[in-house]
């Protein structure tokens, strides 16, 4: 596949992530922070997000598995995850965290367990999408092309 085709494929793929709500405008902020002096900024931040999120999801699983659930602790973890996902523009993860926090407030064990599943699902979805997107970028760069900047209508 030649570079132009790869670039078009990347643009279409990235646009779909915005259209489907996986990413929001904050992700564009991250991309704009990447330049010649910081060529790997997006990859670095996204990798940090993956590591941080997986640790938080493990902590959440353990915290909700206790006989007496400490909802304050659970809420603190969700707050962290909400913050990180919001900062990188992972909109659906962020929204799942918002719902999660309201059930923590109610101390509703069944609902919070469901929320945990929901957050995990959204996380793995966006992780998969971002990895695919970054792989496409890598292929373009390896073929000597440059990453096209996305222009969005909103």
């Amino acid at each position: 596949m030649e570079v132009g085709q790869m670039q078009r494929r990347l643009v279409d793929y990235t646009k779909s992530l915005f259209m489907e709500g996986f990413l929001d405008a904050q992700f564009l902020q991250l991309q704009q922070l990447q330049d010649e002096s910081n060529p790997d900024f997006v990859v670095e931040v996204v990798s940090l997000f993956f590591d941080d999120s997986e640790k938080l999801l493990n902590d959440l699983t353990m915290a909700l598995d206790q006989p007496n659930v400490d909802f304050k602790k659970v809420d603190a973890h969700v707050h962290q995850l909400k913050g990180s996902s919001s900062s990188i523009g992972a909109q659906r993860v962020k929204n799942a965290c918002i719902a999660f926090r309201s059930f923590c407030e109610e101390q509703n064990i069944d609902a919070t367990l469901r929320c945990l599943q929901q957050v995990k699902q959204e996380y793995y979805l966006v992780k998969n999408k971002l990895e695919t997107m970054l792989r496409l970028e890598q292929q373009i760069v390896a073929a000597g092309g440059s990453i096209p900047m996305i222009e969005l209508g909103f």
Binding site: Q29, L33, V45, L48, D52, S84
Partner: protein, 153 residues
Amino acid sequence: MLSCGGGSGGCSKDMAVELGDEPHVLAVDDNLIDRKLVERLLKNSSCKVTTAENALRALDYLGLGNDTLEGTVSEVNMIITDYCMPGMTGYELLKKIKESSVLKEVPVVIMSSENIPTRISQCLEEGAKMFMLKPLKQSDVKQLKWHLMKCRN
């Protein structure tokens, strides 16, 4: 979204930064991703950045901590801190800074992911220069830098 404190005199000329100097900002946040983001945003606005992962580390760095080592106190031109942090909050950190004769003139900016009007006014009343809503954007930081440099002139 930015909320600014009312003008209360100017900034001390001890904190004056020559035009062309890079202001030194201490950024405090317990979230690793947010620390990385704020650092990049500030560096993009030509600031020198030091990060701290909690308020106690920040106080040590500023020379107000229990564990501050002799001769390691660094001068900062601005402190930007998250509000919600475990242990000491950004608000409590702000109070400690304003209580210090050495540091009370250093502008402190509070960041939060939650838009709570009482929280905002509480911070501004305690002397915060500005309150910013997370996630931060480049335009927020540019405006911040402009306010900071305006103090100098």
